[in-house]
Every structure is written in C-alpha cells, then in structure tokens.
C-alpha cells in the first residue's frame, strides 16, 4: 500500500525530465521524443486522480491524449521528413529560417 502522492511525484519528475530534454537536446527527433515523455508524465497523473476519485472519465481523457499523441506523432514526423528533405540536417540550431 503506497500513497498516491508518490505516483504524482513520479509524474512530475517525468514531466520535468521531458522539459529538460526539450531544452537541451539539439536533435529534432529527440526534441519530439521529449514531448512524448511530457505527455506520458501528464497521463500518469490523470490515471492517478482517476484512481483517487474512482472516476472513469480521467482514464478516458488519457485515452483521448493517446489518440492526439498518435496523430501528432504522424504529422510531426512527416514535417520532420519534409524539413530534412529541404535542409538535409536535423540540428535545431541550423533550422532557423522559415523560408526554403
């Protein structure tokens, strides 16, 4: 038997690690992976609160987050492929112009 605050602390830690990754990583794909890490951290706190109040809707929200994450991954990776085709690099420092 463990307190639910431990789960919340874990989810906060995951979210903050995702933010750190988003800030310090210099590869476009890894930055994108850090965003997925943040989404996962938030999902864990949704599931924890769904357990706390015995509500199903918290879990359904996680389900919707997963759907949006899947759509986001598909579109985002397509954009990454298009950027790579135009610039032949994945370093975020070199992708600094909007025009091609």
């Amino acid at each position: 038997m463990i307190p639910l605050s431990w789960y919340l602390l874990l989810s906060a830690a995951l979210f903050c690690l995702g933010v750190i990754g988003f800030l310090i990583k210099r590869n476009l794909i890894t930055v994108f992976m850090s965003i997925e890490l943040m989404l996962n951290g938030v999902n864990l706190s949704f599931v924890t609160f769904a357990h706390q109040w015995h509500l199903v809707k918290g879990q359904i929200f996680v389900f919707f987050v997963m759907v949006v994450a899947a759509a986001e991954a598909a579109v985002g990776l397509a954009i990454i492929i298009a950027v790579f085709r135009a610039r032949s690099t994945l370093a975020v420092d070199r992708i600094d112009l909007m025009k091609l």
Binding site: G21, L23, T30, M33, L37, L44, A70, L77, A78, D93
Partner: protein, 170 residues
Amino acid sequence: MHLILFIVFAGFCLAGAINLLLQTHPINSALSLVVVMCSLAVLYLLLGAEFLAAAQIIVYAGAIMVLFTFVVMLLNAGREERTLGSRAAKAVGFPAVVAILGVIATLILKAQGLGSATLSDPITSTEDLSRVLFHELLLPFEVTSVLILVAILGAVALARAGDGERRVSK
C-alpha cells in the same frame, strides 16, 4: 508487493527518462523511451487501469515508437553535436526546471486527502470505460476519428515529395 512493483518500475521509468537525455544518438533515446512507456503501462495496471495499460503498450510502445525508430533509420540521423545554444539552454534551463519541480513537489506533498493505492483496489474494467465512452462521450469519440483522418491525410501530403520540388528538378 505493491511497494516493490512500484519502486522497481518507477525506477525503470526514471532511469529510462534520464538515459533518454544522456544518450547522444537518437536511436538509443528512442529505445529508452520504449522502456519508459512499458514501465508506465505496469504502473497503470497497479492503479487499476487495465485498458489503458494495454493501450499504452499497443499505441505508444508499439505504434508511435515504431514510427519514431522508422524515421530515425530513414533519415540516417547521426549523433548530435554540442553547440552554443545547447550550453546556454543547459545553464538557464536546469535551474528553471528544478525550480518548477520543487514547486510542484511541495504542492503535491502539502496536498491533503490524497488516498493510497493497494493491489486489492477495484479494477476499472473495459466495460465500465466503454459504457461512459459510448454513451456520454460519443460525440468527442467520433470527432477524434475525424482528427485521425485529417492527421493521416496531412502526414501523407507533407511526407511525399512536393510538386514544387519536382518542378525544380525538371
């Protein structure tokens, strides 16, 4: 038992997340993200969310991460190099994020009335979940199917070689 499972898989989770940050090659980061997602699925099971645990494995660790590794291999992404920007982000970002984590942690630890989780807690069955999903939340559910359709079309339109490029090459 619950405590051991939580500590083991929370440890896996944090180790995978930290490894994601430490690795310089994107494929290693992707594989450590798979570890994070699989151990999160076990934590969902501990919290009685069996459908979400399965969906986490299938959708996240399966579909999304396969997409990621596929793109990493397709683009032949190499190691990242340290630049001025990344050093500045480290110098400013770390204290800021640690401050945010500190604020969130104190809020969580000060919160009253948070319960506790045991292995004998009732499990939210897929039946309960679908009862709410297909009665009260039917419209949002159908809207997400439109979202997925738009995302598929957008991904195909973005990823294929554009017309402009072809005209230039001619």
